[in-house]
Amino acid sequence: MKETPHLAQGTPHPPLEKDALRIYNMRFCPYAERSLLVGSAKGIKFEVVNVNLVDKPDWFVAMNPPGLVPTLEWGDGRVLGESLIVSEYLDEIGDASRPLQSSDPFQKAKDKLLADKFSQVISALFKIMLNYHKPELDLSPFDDMLRYLDRYEKELKSRPSQFFNGDKPGYVDYMIWPWFERFELLGVLVGDKLKFPKTRYPRLTEWTSAMLEDDAVKTWYLPVEVHEQYMRSRFSGGATDYDFLVRQQEVKTSNL
C-alpha cells in the first residue's frame, strides 16, 4: 500500500479523469477509514488523496465546505461527504453481488441504528483520547464507553453469524471497525487504568480477530504504534507530522 503525502494549503487540486472516483482521506482518520473499507470491500475503483486537516487547501474547503474527510469526488464534479452516507452510497454503486446491508428492511433498520448509536462509544472514547495529554484528565468517560460497548457484545452474541452482518463483514462491521483499531491507544497513551478489557468482550474479541483477516480491513489497517505516533504528533503542540509513513516507506524503498 503506497503511502502518499497529505496535501496542504498551497498545493494545487490534483486533476481527476472524468469517470474516475477519488476519496479524500486523512491516513489516521477513523471516519474516513469507513469509506475506504467499503470502497475496497465493494471492489470499487478509486484513488485516495490525503489531506492535511490542520492546513487545508482552499480548493478542498471550497469543494464541500467545511472540508472534512471523507469527501468523495467524481471527475465530473459531483461531490459527497458524511461518512455514513458516503458508505451507504458506495454500497449502492459497488459490486451488487456483495450487498453490505440486509435485504430485510427490519434487519437493515436495526443495523442502521447500531451503526448510528456507535457515536456514543466514539464520543466517550474521544473525550479521553483528545485530552490524553492533559494533566487533569477525567477518566469517567471510559466507564461510559465500556457500558455502551456491552450493548454491542450483547448484540453480536445474539446473532448466529461470525460478523454482525453475516458470514462476511458488512455495513455494521465496517462502520464500527476503525475504532476497534484504536481502543488499545487508551492504555498506551494514558496507562494501565485504561487498558482495553478484552475479557469483558469475548465475542467482540473473536470478532476483532476475524476482522483482522478481512481483505478490506487488512488493506487499510494500521497497528496501534502507528496510531500512537500520529496522536503524539497531533497533540505535541507543534505542527502535526502527517507524513511519517511516507518517509518511512521512502527510506525502505531507497534501501532496496
Partner: protein, 249 residues
C-alpha cells in the same frame, strides 16, 4: 378532518396493535414524529397513531424507547429514530412510490441535506425557547436564518417546485415539519420574526406548494396550535396540557 387523539400517559394500558396494521407512536406537536406520519401517508401504508404524553410517559412506552416516533408491528417488532423509521417506511411500502430519489448520488445528496438540517433545528428550538423568557434573544433568530440560507440556495439551484422535483421527495417531507412551526416566532415576537420574503423567495413558494400536498394537509396544524403547545409544555408555568385540541369541536 382528523379526529384528534388523547395523549396516553402514566397508568394507561397499551392499546394492542391491530392485525395487519403498523402503529406509529407520536406526539401531536412533535416534528420528528410528524416525519413518520408524512412518510407513512405518502407511501399509503395502513397505520394507526397513538399519541404519547411526553411529560408523563407510560411505563409500557418506556419499555420500548424513551422517545417518539416509534413504529411498531403487530408482532411487537419496532423501529426507532425518525429518519430510520422514514427509510423503513419507504422500504416496506408500495415500491411504485419511491420517497427517495432512485439515483444513488441524488439520494445521498438529499440525505446530507436532511442530516445538515439539524443545523437549522437547533437554532430554531433555542430561539423558540428564548421567546418564553422575559427577554428573547434576537441573535438566536439571526443564527437560525443564517443556517436556513443554504436551503434557499439549494432549492434555487434545483429550479424545481420541490426539492424532489415535480413531487415532494423524502427531503421535502423530512424538513417540512419544522417549516410548519416557524410562524410561531411571529406569533410570539411580531411580524419582524417572519421569514423575510426577499431572503427566502424560493422557500416561501415551496411552503405554499407543500401546503397543497395531501400528506402535508393530513397532519397540518396551524401555527397558533403549535404556539399553544409551546406555551403549554415548553414555556415556564405552562399547563402541560397536550390535549387542548382533542375537546375542541
Amino acid at each position: 378532518m382528523l379526529a384528534e387523539k388523547v395523549h396516553l400517559a402514566e397508568g394507561s394500558t397499551k392499546p394492542p396493535v391491530e392485525n395487519g396494521f403498523v402503529r406509529i407512536y407520536a406526539m401531536r406537536f412533535c416534528p420528528f414524529a410528524q416525519r413518520s406520519l408524512l412518510a407513512a401517508t405518502a407511501k399509503g401504508i395502513k397505520f394507526d397513531v397513538v399519541n404519547i404524553n411526553l411529560e408523563k410517559k407510560p411505563k409500557w412506552f418506556l419499555e420500548m424507547n424513551p422517545a417518539v416516533p416509534i413504529l411498531e408491528h403487530d408482532d411487537g417488532r419496532f423501529v426507532i429514530e425518525s429518519l430510520i423509521v422514514a427509510d423503513y417506511i419507504d422500504e416496506i411500502g408500495d415500491s411504485n412510490i419511491s420517497l427517495h430519489p432512485k439515483d444513488p448520488y441524488k439520494k445521498a445528496k438529499d440525505r446530507v441535506l436532511v442530516d445538515k438540517f439539524s443545523s437549522v433545528i437547533g437554532p430554531f428550538l433555542n430561539c423558540l425557547m428564548s421567546f418564553g423568557k422575559p427577554e428573547p434573544d434576537v441573535k438566536l433568530f439571526d443564527a437560525f436564518l443564517n443556517n436556513l440560507d443554504r436551503y434557499e440556495t439549494e432549492l434555487k439551484s434545483r429550479n424545481c417546485e420541490f426539492f424532489g422535483g415535480e413531487k415532494p421527495a423524502m427531503l421535502d417531507f423530512m424538513i417540512w415539519p419544522l417549516f410548519e412551526r416557524f410562524e410561531q416566532f411571529a406569533i410570539f415576537g411580531g411580524k419582524e420574526f417572519l421569514l423575510p420574503e426577499k431572503r427566502f423567495p424560493k422557500l416561501l413558494k415551496w411552503m405554499t406548494s407543500m401546503l397543497g400536498n395531501e400528506a402535508v394537509k393530513m397532519w397540518l396544524l396551524p401555527a397558533e396550535a403549535h404556539a399553544q403547545y409551546t406555551r403549554n409544555v415548553h414555556f415556564a408555568g405552562g399547563s402541560k396540557d397536550f390535549d387542548f385540541l382533542v375537546n375542541v369541536k
